[in-house]
Symmetry: C2
Subunit: 364 residues, 2 copies
């Protein structure tokens, strides 16, 4: 394995989208929402163990979650957990990780990935990322992973490929990026998929630490300037105090908006390793195996009748869940919350808003 290859797992997300299973104190990346015995962050870590040396895996998270990261990834050295004192979106997170890794190894090539995505074909994932890293290590370009769209999904961003500028690398194709597009409406999503020019934006990036640092310096100088003094503090007892100080002043901005949409150096590796960002109950419902009445049921013991197109999840063991006559509902039961809500995402969002408004935030 190449000692210049590094991985950065972004694990700072807060989790109201799988509420009440996910909480502020227990966001999605620490959940085993699929019931397969490992949390999302554990699955993500395990995948990257096959791509980069164990000591080169870093996790960036909120200071509130550093203990949870340590608990879920006990083999990860604590010095590889980079903690952010404030939430500032992905650009500062990547600026911290990139300057920190460049400080350790100026020749580093890094893959940056969210901690809470689901990958169904792990071998293909390893092959594609490894290929992209080998290629990126020789280029002064910024690479992202684009997923072959299988449906006109309105919950993802899209990347338009320049069909005239592409290159084949060990059987994988990388295209020059033409545009980045935010979540489209249904009609536009269908046009994107039909065109054959668009890929889903996975939020996984591959680049040299030095290349992304240069790009940050050019496109986000107000962010980069804060981190450029990091070399004086990284690896010293003053690192955390330095980070705390600069994060306070750091603007919150995404790497997509701040860099990728502006640079002319963006490329996208086409990938088809079965990627899903299970960001909501609805996306979990659409992705997961369902019973003959199209229900997604994860419970210890059930008696379910004349109930269709619903999500029924109970985290309480030794509890019988009896449901009769529901259609298109979420029934989510945890130790301290029972939520019954239409499956419609806008209704679920109303619940989350109502929790705050009605002073129930202790349950969030």
């Amino acid at each position: 394995m190449n000692n210049n290859f590094y991985c950065v797992i972004m694990a700072g997300g807060v989790g109201s989208r799988f509420w009440p299973v996910s909480r502020n104190t227990m966001p999605k990346q620490f959940l085993d929402i699929l019931g397969i015995g490992k949390s999302f962050i554990q699955l993500t870590y395990d995948r990257f163990l096959k791509i980069v040396p164990e000591k080169n895996i870093y996790v960036v998270t909120s200071s509130a979650y550093s203990d949870l990261v340590h608990k879920h990834l006990p083999n990860l050295p604590v010095e590889n957990i980079l903690t952010e004192p404030y939430r500032r979106n992905t650009a500062p997170c990547i600026a911290y990780a990139a300057t920190r890794i460049r400080h350790m190894n100026p020749d580093a090539t890094m893959v940056v990935a969210p901690s809470d995505h689901f990958i169904s074909n792990e071998n293909l994932f390893v092959d594609t990322i490894s290929c992209a890293m080998r290629y990126a290590s020789q280029k002064d370009e910024l690479f992202t992973l684009g997923i072959d769209p299988t449906r006109p999904e309105t919950g993802y961003g899209y990347i338009q490929c320049s069909m005239k500028e592409s290159t084949t690398v060990d059987g994988n194709i990388a295209y020059k990026v033409k545009t980045f597009t935010e979540k489209p409406n249904r009609e536009l999503a269908q046009v994107f998929v039909d065109s054959g020019e668009f890929l889903w934006n996975s939020g996984i990036f591959v680049w040299n630490a030095s290349t992304i640092c240069k790009a940050l310096e050019k496109w986000l100088p107000e962010v980069y300037s804060l981190f450029k003094d990091g070399d004086k503090y990284y690896g010293t007892p003053q690192e955390q105090a330095f980070i705390t100080k600069i994060y306070e002043d750091c603007p919150a901005i995404s790497i997509d908006y701040g860099v990728m949409e502006k640079t002319s150096r963006a490329w996208v590796f086409q990938a088809s390793f079965g990627w899903t960002d299970l960001g909501t109950w609805e996306s979990l419902y659409l992705h997961a195996d369902k019973d003959s009445d199209r229900n997604l049921i994860k419970c210890h013991d059930t008696l379910i009748d004349t109930t269709r197109d619903s999500v029924i999840v109970s985290m309480e063991k030794d509890k019988l869940i009896v449901v009769k006559g529901l259609e298109n509902y979420l029934v989510i039961n945890t130790d301290d919350v029972l939520m019954i809500c239409p499956r419609d995402e806008s209704k679920f969002k109303e619940v989350i808003t109502d929790l705050a408004v009605n002073e129930k935030s202790k349950y969030m």
Copy 2:
């Protein structure tokens, strides 16, 4: 208080009708379903303390519930708990209690009442029952309590009064009974109420122990003959063995069907003390106070929105109940069962049947 006055509280009912709050091991009479701090049996006992001497209150229950009776009524002497080894409906229960009390006191007048009814005007209840007992003590007749109907209820039995034969006793009116009618359909119930001749059958009886014994001997000799040897065993260590032996052979039959519908000695005291047999979630829903969306809500903490005409009960403390977009549902949550079911009584009955069929009877 008259030392010849006795009370028999019938507390043998099993409870699937408030499932999952009521259980085989915890039937309705031991529940505080109204959330007022006392179980039905405690409320019933407290009412009769104002009518008969404490030592003259007896409870007849299943052997499975005698410990529960003792727990709920710690002041009740254990020898006043009469335990039935098998469920045989009300006639054997009354035969046991009546022969037992006659054995203690041949001049006894007794009131017999279910343990799980709700009375809203306790003072009027005490006055009416006391009046009926005083009157019955001088008569060789069988008295029942009939409630002024306030709606065409189809869940109760009705008693038709003979308007030509009545007597006024201390302001109360007793009518000779013309007919007993089982639960009518809606149209018939409306006819009953409109006629002014019908009262709800409360299942509360007042009579001398000797009078009901004579009536049992006449109308149910196959039951009475089993108990007539009781005098040899009552109050001895052999009492329970005797009861166990005769109950095995005893037919199951109600006192209404076995005696009251046949005798010409039945009279009914008209009563209006606010009586409700809260026998089902539906009757509790109809009886209880509701919020402005017509929901009956008994929970520790809730966030309820766009939900109407529903019953939402949670026995778990420290649990937030979030319900959105339900109409006409039961949501009942206990430590080990969550039930979501349409309020329609037939749907609820299907759940109870399905529990048995699907081998979930450990939750019953």
